[in-house]
């Protein structure tokens, strides 16, 4: 009977531990976002995106789209403080399933780092690579998460203008 109770208690504790960890990642990410927002001095805050991920035994990538045309020029502030693995970040002009997409920005490892990317620079890169004169209407940010032992992580992005 003692053995059964021990197993039951262990099971419940393990389950609660997993839930707490997830809650912690969410809370920490939101805290980082709030700090990043508070640190904007010369710019207005216009939005954010927290990307959560689960490290698996195979590499994964995640992508999302940001609309740029509404504000003219944005500065994108990334924080990889909650990313413990070698998470790569790339910015493209088109989605992953579209042909001939152009790589506008790349960093091999954003983990534990802070990065700033201006959409002015992304527009310049696009012009240099393609000769196009129009500005980007949106960009696609892609995170690549390498395989590893089970873990949770997150990358925080805020944008100012």
């Amino acid at each position: 009977m003692k053995f059964i109770l021990l197993l039951l208690s262990l099971t419940v504790q393990l389950f609660l531990f997993a839930q707490t960890t997830i809650k912690e990642v969410t809370e920490n990410a939101r805290q980082i976002k709030a700090e990043m927002r508070a640190s904007l001095t010369d710019e207005k805050y216009d939005g954010s995106k927290i990307t959560y991920y689960e490290v698996k035994d195979f590499p994964i990538f995640k992508e999302f789209e940001i609309t740029l045309f509404l504000r003219g020029n944005y500065t994108l502030y990334f924080s990889g403080e909650l990313a413990k693995t070698n998470v790569g970040m790339r910015i493209y002009d088109k989605a992953y399933d579209e042909k001939n997409r152009i790589l506008l920005y790349e960093t091999k490892d954003i983990s534990s780092k802070k990065l700033t990317v201006s959409t002015l620079d992304l527009n310049e890169t696009l012009k240099k690579l393609t000769g196009r004169s129009d500005n980007l209407k949106s960009v696609f940010v892609e995170y690549s998460i390498p395989k590893g032992s089970p873990d949770l992580g997150g990358i925080v992005l805020i944008f100012g203008y």
């Binding site: 059964i4 099971t11 389950f15 939005g47 959560y52 689960e54 999302f64 045309f69 949770l152």
Partner: protein, 282 residues
């Protein structure tokens, strides 16, 4: 021994579940995931709606530079707020009223701004998001700063952020897309019907905004509980997408070139968006 085996099985199953299952707050928030295995054995694991929804403030103020004249009769009447009884209607009109609120704010219609803010609060309470406004006295702060555009903009960004977090925490992230579609249609309506009195050519702004239609449609499609009204709006938006794609100037523009809309084409867009907007608010 039988019990021990049973508990060991349960333990293993629960352990596996807690380690490999998608966390409700992290990933399983109601949206279906798009998973695509590539040749490189890397797996694409984004959700189907991974699009950062623009703030209503940014949506509406983007039209300011082309001269958005204020017409009090163009916004959705406040008294309609009690007509929205289904969740779909409440969500989509939350977006409509959000756009109307910004429209009033940028045109310094302070009294109207308060009324539209109250309409938003009423709808939020109806679909269970009233807490967003009561926490940290956000509503009081907004009412206090209703005439201060700069302060108000920051506070409305807070409303947007808290709404998003609330929906994420309650596995309802996809509902934000419904609100967005209402705000997008209302913004397009307020701007496109104003094109005759517009100080400058509104065409380029409409073209920019049309790039949001694809995501608006995807967002509505993901709302699986949509009723007949929302289904009709979705179908009308799809038809609108086709009408737009078949405009002569759009068809003749090259891939990396923006079309130049004629007055007649702008009128077609304005009429179509007005019809969709009427479906939403009625």
């Amino acid at each position: 021994m039988k019990y021990i085996n049973w508990f060991i099985s349960c333990f293993i199953l629960l352990t596996l579940f807690s380690c490999s299952g998608e966390d409700p707050q992290v990933a399983d928030d109601g949206t279906e995931k798009k998973t695509l295995a590539l040749d490189t054995n890397v797996v694409f694991e984004s959700e189907r709606f991974e699009f950062i929804l623009p703030q209503p403030f940014a949506l509406i103020t983007s039209f300011e530079e082309v001269g958005l004249t204020y017409h009090p009769d163009k916004t959705n009447p406040i008294e309609n707020v009690n007509e929205y009884t289904t969740r779909g209607d409440q969500l989509i009109n939350f977006g409509v009223y959000s756009a109307d609120l910004i429209y009033c704010v940028i045109n310094e219609q302070h009294q109207q701004s308060i009324l539209y803010f109250n309409a938003i609060k009423t709808l939020a309470e109806k679909f269970g998001m009233g807490a967003v406004f009561t926490e940290n006295e956000l509503a009081i702060e907004i009412e206090k700063n209703i005439a201060n555009r700069s302060e108000l903009e920051g506070l409305l960004v807070d409303v947007h952020e808290r709404s998003q977090e609330y929906l994420e925490d309650n596995q309802m992230k996809y509902l934000a897309a419904i609100q967005f579609s209402g705000a997008w249609v209302e913004g397009m309506y307020l701007a496109s019907t104003d094109f005759v009195s517009s100080k400058t050519d509104i065409g380029p702004k409409l073209i920019d905004q049309m790039s949001l239609l694809k995501n608006t449609i995807i967002g509505l499609q993901l709302y699986e509980e949509r009723d007949v009204e929302i289904e009709t709006i979705l179908n009308e938006l799809k038809a609108f997408e086709t009408v737009y794609a078949n405009l002569d100037s759009v068809k003749s523009a090259s891939v990396n070139e923006n079309p130049t809309l004629t007055k007649q084409e702008i009128k077609i867009i304005a009429d179509k968006i007005a019809a969709i907007r009427n479906l939403i608010i009625s």
